[in-house]
Point group: D2
Chain length 346, copies 4
C-alpha cells in the first residue's frame, strides 16, 4: 500500500482526497495534516468519516511526514508548498502540490499575479504540470507534480485540441467560466455564507483572476506562440462543478465532422474525457462525483466563431481526483485506480 | 384608476404583473386571464394572493376584454398576441405584449428564429420596442408596445452606450448570459424539475437562442450598421435574476474615466439603471425584487477588450416591471409609479 | 416624519428594517448604527441600497442617538440592549428591542437559558412583549417593547387560540420548527457557509433552544397555568422563512368547523394573520417578503391529536416587520403603514 | 455475475440502482426497463452514464425478463408489481419490490391508505419486509422482498430499539420527517418545479401519508401491541436526504448511558447504522451518497420525553441501496458488497 500524507486535509479538497484514497485499492492515508484542527479527531471535523476514519489531525512536520509516507499532497494556500520543499524532502518522497506554487514556469509571472515571493524557484523547472491527459509521460518519474487549477483543467481540456491543431486564432480566445462554491474553500468569510451565495450569480476577479496566466502558458505551448486570453470566473449557487464556455474565431471554414475528429484525435482513448454527442451541451450534474470532464463544441457559421464547452467536478478532476490520477501515474498504477466512481445524479 | 387586463396571468410573469399592479397607486387588475385555470380562484393558484385577490380566472375573450379594460398585458407564448390583435382592438385599448411577436421589425427574421408564421405582420411597423430608457419618447402615444425580452433588456442596456459612441467593434461582441429558472416558465417539464436544475449549470440554445436577433437589431440601430453577435444563455439554480457578461474589442485606447463618462451620459438621469462604482461587479442579488438594472465594465489593457456586465431581475425589469413602466409611459403617469420597490436582500 | 435610529443596522434584520422604513410613508432612518462598519457607506455594505441610501455607518453612541431620533431599534446580540437602556434614555426615546433582553419576565429564567447576567432587570417589568396581535393594547403608550423572536412569533400565533380556549392539553405541546438560514445571522462562521448549509437539513439546540421559555411563558399566560413544551428547531437550505409544525392532544372531540371558528375568533379581523382554507398547509414561499403569518390546522381522529401549522418570513413578521408594526402602534399610525408588501413569488 | 433486471429504471430510484449495480463486484444490469423511454439509449436519458452504459431501454415484458435475469427490481408506482407477479415468475426469479405493494400485511389497510385494489394478495403473506437490520434472517431464502419506504426506514431505525425495549410509550410517538425532493419522483408536475420547491418548506399529507401504516405495523411488531403514530412529512429544497425527528414519552427515568446502551445493543455490529456521539445531531449531508443511517437521541428531563433522530440518503438506504443490500442477502453475498461508498461532502 502506498502511504499518503495530506497537508491541508481539512479543506474541501483535502476531505475529497481522503474520501478517494480511503476507497483506493492500493493507497491509504496515514497522515491527516491540519493546522486548524490539531489533535482533533478527523471524523469530528467531517462527520461523514464517522466510524470510517479513526485518526486525529496532525501538525505540519515536514521532516517527520517525509519519513512516514510515500507521497504528500499539499492542499494548502499559495506559498506554503514553496516554503516546505527542499532537496532532501524531494529525495525521500513524491509531492503532488494542489496549490499554484509550481504551475507557472516564469517566476516573475507567478509573483506578479499571486503577489507572493516564491520561496523555492529552483524547483520550478523540474516540476511537471500535472494535466494528466497532456503531460502523462513527463509525470512518470517526476518528484514534484504541480496539480493544475480547477478552472484551468476545464478550460485547457476544452480548448486544447483546437489550439494544437491551429483551428482557432489563439489571440481571440475568451473563456467565461462558472464555478460552484466549494471552489472558494472552507474559510469563514461573509461572501461565502449561504445567504450571500444563494439566489445570486456574480462575476469576480474580472481581468485579474490568477488562473489566467496558467491557461495562457499551457495553451501557449500548444499554439507554439504567446497566447493572451480573457478569463472571467463566476460564482454559482451550487456546491460542486465548473462549466467553461469558451469562444474563439475559427481560422478556416470547418465542418462539424472535422472538428469532432480533432477532439477525438486527442480524447478518444482517454477514459476521463468524454466528447459528447453532437449538439449535447456539457452540464455539471452529469460529471458530479466523478473524475470525468465532458467537452463539446458548437460552430457558429454566422459569426465565424466556435463555442467550446467543458464541465467537471471542481473537487475531483479539478483537484483531488486529478491529484490521485497523478499519484497513480507516479507510482505506475492503473491510471484510473480509485477513480472509477460513476457521476451521481440527482 | 387604469383598468388592467392580463392574458396569461398564471405564469410567473403574469403573477408578477398582478403583484406590481395590486400595489400600484393608479391601476388595478380587473381581468385575470388564464386558459389553464378558468373559473378557479386566482388565490388558489397563487396562495400568496390569499385574502388579497378575490377574483377568478377568466378565459381569453378578446372582445369582451377590450371593452372592460384600458390596457392589456399579454404574458403568453409566442404567436398568441399576434393572433389576437386587430385594428378594432387597438382602437379601444393599449396593448403591452410581453411575448416576442412585435419585437423584431423584419418579419422574415422573426419567422426564421421562432419557426412561427406571424399572424399580424401589418402591426409590426407601428409597434414600439419598449426598452424604456432608449425608446421612451416613441412609446408615448403608441397603441402597441413590444415589451423586450429579459436577456435582451440586460444585454442591450449593458452594451448600448459603448456601441452608440463607437467605442467597441460591433462585430466583436460576445454575450455570455446567465439566468435564474423562472425564465423557463411554469410549464410542467422534466428539465425544469428541482432535481434537474439544482446543483447544475448548463448552456442551452447555443448559437440559436431567439433573443439573439433581438439584441442584434437593437444594437444595430445604435451602431448604424449590421451587428452579429454570439449570445449564449445558461441556466442557473436560482429563481430570479439575469447576469450578462459581454466582451468586445475596444476601437481605441480609453481610460476608465472616459468609459465611465459614456455610461453616465446615457444613464446618470435614469432611475432604474445604476452604473456601479469602479471595480464593483453587478450581482443579481442586489437587484432582486426591484426594477433596477445594475451595469458596470472593466477594461482589459492586456487584450484590448472591455468586459461589460449587467444584472437585473428577469421577472421585473426583464418582464413585468418593464411592462408596468411602459404602461406608466403610455398613460402619462410618473414612470416609476408602482415600481419603487427596494431590492430585497437576503 | 418619525426619525428612526438602528443599532445593528448591518445584520440581516437590520438591513430589513432599513428596507421597510425607507419605503415607510411616515418614517425615515437617520442613524445607521454598526460597530463593524463604522464610517463605511451603508450602500457599500448592502449594495441593494446603492443610490438609495447615501449615509455612512455610525458607532453606537446612545446619548447622541437618543437625542437624534424618536425611536431606536436594537437589532443586536443578546445583552447589548440591556446594557444600554436607562431612565434618561427611555424618557427621551422609544425603544423596540429585537434581542431577547426584555422578552422574559423572570430574570432567572432569562439568565439561565441565555447564560448572561441581565444588566437592567429593573426595566423588565415595564417592557411590553410586542406580539402585536395579542398585546396591541399594552403596547400603546409603552416606552420599551420587547420584539418577539422569530420562532416564537410563528409558534405562538399557530397555537395560541387553542390554548386560550382550552381545546388542547398544554402539557402535550410539541413544536417542530424549521428555519431558513438568515435566522442564523451574518456572522462569518463555518457552519453557515453555503457548502455547509446547502443540501442539508439538521436539528440543533435540541431541548435547549432559547426560544423555548419564551414560547412557554406566553402560552402559559393564555393557558392560565404553567406550560412545558418540546421545541426543536431545524436549519433548512433556504434564505428566509419559518415553518412551525406543532402537535398537541385535544381535550375533547371537536369538529373542523369548531376549531376553525376558534381561529377565526382571534384572527378574522387581523390583517397579518391569514387562517387558510381547509386542508391547505402553510408554506413559507406564500408569505416570503411580507408581514403575513399563514396558519392552519388538521385534526387527527385516529390519534386524538391536532396538528397546528404556521409560516412566516423570519426577517419580516419574525423580526423587522413586527418591529415596524410595533413602531406604528407606539406612534399611533395605521398598524399596517409601510407593511403592505405582497408576498413575492417565485 | 448476478443478472439484474430493473422495471422502472428511468426514475430517480432506478438510476440509482443502475449506478450501484454498475459498480457492484458481483452483479450487472442486463435489462433497463422503462415504459417512457422504450428503445431510447439509457445514456441519453441519464447522461452521467455516457460511455458507461451502452444499452437501450426496454418495454416491460415480464416473462422474457424473468428468463433473462436472476433478480428483478421493481422501481415503479404502487400497484404495478402486484399486477406482475405470479407463481411462475416467482419460481424463476427473485423480486425486490421498491413499491409499497407487499409491505403491509393487512390487505385492507393497504387498500384503504393507497386507494388501490391489490392484484396479488396471495403473495403478501410470504413477502418479507426487507428492513435488513431487523429482518435479515427472514430475507435469506425469500422469493419476494418488500423493500421498505424511505421515510419508514429512517423512522423505524430511529425508534425501534426504544420501542422494542419498552422505554417509550408507543401511543405517544410523533414522527416529524423532512425529505429532499428526489423522493417526489421524476414526474413532470408543477409542484416539483425548481421555482416551486426552492426557497420553500411545507408539510404535506398531514395525517394521511401512506408511510404511516407501514411505520405503525413494524413498530407494532416490536412493541407487541398496536401502535398509532402521528407522521408528518415535509418537503425540503434539497435533492437527497431524509431527516426524522421523533418524539415520545419515556416510560421511566433513564440516563443517557442507559439509552445509549439500548441503541448499541441493536446497532453496534451494524455497518450501516451509526449511533452518533453524545449530543451530535444527525445531518443529511453526512450520509449523502452512502448507505448509512445516522441515529441519535436526546433526553428532555423537563418534559419527560425523548427526541429520537435519524438521517439517511433517501435514494440509497431509503431505496436503491437497501434494495441492493437485500439482493446481497438473497444471494448470500457480503451484505455490503457494492455499498461501501463513503458519504460525499460537500
Amino acid at each position: 500500500m502506498i502511504k499518503v500524507g495530506i497537508i491541508g486535509s481539512t479543506g474541501y479538497a483535502g476531505v475529497e482526497i481522503v474520501r478517494l484514497i480511503t476507497q483506493h485499492p492500493e493507497a491509504e492515508v496515514v497522515w491527516y495534516g491540519s493546522r486548524s484542527y490539531v489533535d482533533q479527531k478527523y471524523a469530528e471535523v467531517f462527520r461523514n468519516m464517522f466510524e470510517i476514519v479513526d485518526a486525529k489531525c496532525l501538525e505540519d512536520n515536514m521532516d517527520e511526514l517525509a519519513d512516514a509516507v510515500d507521497v504528500i499532497f499539499t492542499a494548502t494556500p499559495q506559498g506554503l508548498c514553496g516554503s516546505l520543499v527542499n532537496e532532501e524532502i524531494l529525495n525521500k518522497v513524491k509531492i503532488v502540490d494542489l496549490s499554484a506554487d509550481f504551475r507557472i514556469k516564469d517566476v516573475a509571472t507567478y509573483e506578479k499575479w499571486y503577489g507572493i515571493t516564491h520561496q523555492s524557484p529552483q524547483f520550478i523547472e523540474e516540476a511537471v504540470y500535472g494535466l494528466c491527459e497532456i503531460n502523462r509521460e513527463k509525470t512518470k518519474g517526476a518528484r514534484l507534480v504541480a496539480n493544475p487549477g480547477c478552472y484551468t483543467t476545464c478550460s485547457i481540456l476544452s480548448i486544447y485540441p483546437l489550439v494544437k491543431e491551429g483551428l482557432i486564432d489563439p489571440k481571440s480566445i475568451i473563456v467565461d467560466a462558472k464555478s460552484g462554491t466549494s471552489g472558494a474553500g472552507r474559510g469563514a468569510k461573509v461572501p461565502n455564507l449561504f445567504c450571500e451565495v444563494n439566489e445570486n450569480i456574480k462575476a469576480y476577479g474580472v481581468t485579474s483572476h490568477r488562473h489566467t496566466p496558467e491557461i495562457e502558458e499551457q495553451l501557449g505551448y500548444a499554439a507554439g506562440e504567446e497566447v493572451l486570453i480573457n478569463f472571467t470566473p463566476h460564482l454559482v449557487p451550487m456546491q460542486r462543478g465548473i462549466l467553461v464556455t469558451a469562444y474563439a474565431n475559427l481560422t478556416k471554414d470547418v465542418t462539424y465532422d472535422e472538428v469532432k475528429a480533432v477532439y477525438d484525435k486527442y480524447y478518444a482513448k482517454e477514459q476521463f474525457v468524454r466528447v459528447l454527442d453532437k449538439d449535447v451541451c456539457p452540464e455539471t450534474r452529469w460529471v458530479e462525483g466523478s473524475n470525468y470532464v465532458d467537452v463539446n463544441f458548437k460552430i457558429d457559421e454566422r459569426t465565424g466563431r466556435i463555442i467550446m464547452m467543458g464541465a467537471l467536478d471542481n473537487l475531483i478532476k479539478g483537484a483531488a481526483g486529478q491529484a490521485v490520477q497523478n499519484m497513480n501515474i507516479l507510482f505506475g498504477l492503473e491510471e484510473n485506480a480509485g477513480l472509477q466512481q460513476i457521476p451521481m445524479f440527482p
